[in-house]
Amino acid sequence: MLTFNQNGIYCAQADVYIDPWKPVDNAIITHAHSDHARWGMKKYLAHIHAAPVMRYRLGQDINVQTVDYNQPITINGVQISLHPAGHIWGSAQVRLEYKGEIWVVSGDYKLGEDGISVPFEPIRCHHFITESTFGLPVYNFPDPATVHHDINDWWRKNREEGKNSVILGYALGKAQRIHKHLDPSIGNIYTHGAVDNVNKLYEAAIEPLPYARRIDSSINPKDIKGDIIIAPPSAENTPWLRKLQPYKLGICSGWMQLRGTRRRRGADRGFVLSDHADWGQLNTAIKQTGAEHIYVTHGYKSVYAKWLQDAYGLNATEVETLYTGEQLDEPETTGGEDAGI
């Protein structure tokens, strides 16, 4: 029912694309990260919580229809519904059913609770399209609760040494997740403007976050002492950041699992906190779908597809060049979310 063409993942029966990367008429968007929600579609369909971010990023005038999870709509006989992907708030898997055949496009996903998004919901299907960002057995992420605990400990220790704590995480999703689990009794929380903009959307759509101040011209950097600052990765090595000295730098990303990456990024601390499934989660998710046909997209495509064939006897194929971010290609330059940041 679905095919892969030069524009993206296409359903001919419903004449609709999922996360297309070229301008098309009808697009269903799994989530609002920039490599999945792109500019130029005539009509968008997305989850109610993804739409505000899409409007903020792609323009208030985009034509976007919203639906909630598990609220099916039918287009030319194809029943289409969105289901929680647990990746970021408002992220969805897209389920398409036509004449008894079920496909699920999972977009990006992870298993388990993160405190800000509705947890991943396993859906039985025949064809499952999965990401493989962390599709190698060396990626075994620690329990997020421990990581949040470590972040607070780190903040406390830096504060004792009279230093600020700057923590870098992708502005959409990761930043709210970090923010929500900070312990405000330690000190003040500050946000970079790019993070604050998304936080405001989150608070309007979902719930308030712990009190934080946006760093703008009204704030004297000298008044920030022993506090924590949440900033996007693009803030690294900028004059903006230098004003916050003395500080310690922490980066939150699944890539921080590897020592080489940690050291290459020059951070004091790398916190292994990811919005993507690790090796174990990918395998669990795929088994739970019961799908026979697996299409592996961005990440360690070929390796992971081979593993699915060898270990589980699945009909797994890699799908070429769906999304731009391959591995660690662009974390420094664009902070693309497939860099897991």
Partner: protein, 539 residues
Amino acid sequence: MRAFSELFTRIDQTTSTNEKIDALADYFEHADPKDAIWCVALLTGKTPKRTIKSGELRDWCAEVSGTPVWLLEESYHVVGDLAETISLLLKGSDGETSHALHEVINSLVALENKTDEQRKAYITGMWRQLGRQELFVFNKLITGGFRMGVSDKITIKALAKRYSIDENIVAHRLTGNWQANETVLDSLMSATDDAADISRPYPFYLAYALETAPEELGDVKDWQIERKMDGIRGQIIVRDHQLFVWSRGEDLLTEKFIEFEPLAKLLPSGTVIDGEIIPAKDENFLPFHVMQTRIGRKNVTKKSLMEAPLVMVCYDLLEHDGVDIRHLSLMQRRELLVQLIETVKEKEANIPLWLSPVLICQNWEEVAEQRLKSREYNCEGLMLKRKDSEYKTGRRRGDWWKWKVDPLSIDGVLIYGQRGHGRRADLYTDFTFAVWDGDELVPFAKAYSGLTDKELLEVDRWIKKHTTDKFGPVRSVTPELVFEIGFEGINASSRHKSGVALRFPRILRWRKDKPAKEANTKADLMDILRVYGGLYDVS
């Protein structure tokens, strides 16, 4: 081993030099003395003998973790470090262990004479007990190369802090022949046993490349100008009528350099000379590679002794009449050095010690002219040393500078990219370059340094998008990008398809202005070879 892996974590979790020093100094103070000395040994590259092969580790890890070998290999390519890959695949236990670092190292060394079953049982048994961070440390002990982001300088500073002694003294005490399982840190760092090791060299004083125009160094008369020889930096030591020849890499090479044997009798006991060991014949220096071939061999043949007799070009005198004179000024040391060599030459005219000539220059223009003549003398450039400088430890700015000649260069086309290692394991950072031979591209150099981090990322992305073929960690790419490759020397080589072997090739810049077809040709390389090439074939 828990304290040691906690130390490792502490160091790994900071980029601040001072915090690393503090963590080390703490460890040296509180750790079991037998562990502390091993920590110093590991950090300064004195790794224990390796008793387990990489292949064994891979097989056992695949079995224990239930990972197919091909998947383990793929993971290793991404992680870039086998010890880390294994630690991540095994996950580690939650239990606590109480193995001391030195006991673990001794057990590992003892595996050499054990049966395969015993070796496997020990390693996999440890794997099951250790937590993740300890696992990594344990695997690093097996595979070697344990640096943990700590330079020799940091280790020295931490020891200086812990024992409240001068860094130069620490550095000196760390050199030489000590064995971690035969001493403890306290005695290595205490002055009393200084006499114990008569072979011990002094830490070398190294120069940085000149960073400014030479005029900014002030009056040329305050500087001693010498040629920078292209050989092996070394120290000749005579103590107790015994001779020791050390290289800068801290290898004891006395046996390989038999030309120096007579010096044991000719030089007074208590003499340490710093200089450059270099092949020379009939008053002329020969190219470096002539000596390289000889060092590679087990036995020195008569033929090589005839073809490439070695001399030391003496730069400096560090110990005189058994007294450490590094604190004297260069002028004073030079005077003593000149006297020493003249006295010895009176006894025996034909000794393999040559004084490094001091170039007389009235102004910096004359210095610059001398520098341009470097290649005629088979030299790399000039050394500028402040006349009142003492002999310091390690690489320092200020008093000594090297002013090298600009490297030779040629424009090559990028044809292969290979994944880097360690820090750069996820990037394509090792490149192979080719020149044109008619319509064909002939590889002539591999280089991995010289680009900025930003350029590296850009090239890495480009490689991933322009791959034509993959084999293992290597990708061949469409021949489009041109880079200027610099090198220090060139020799004919029948082993290389291009017919030449380059010395120290590196990337000078990315020629974004040049299309691939305008890169240099094999004929251009041959022209350079004719002008600058060595006299011998290194193949």
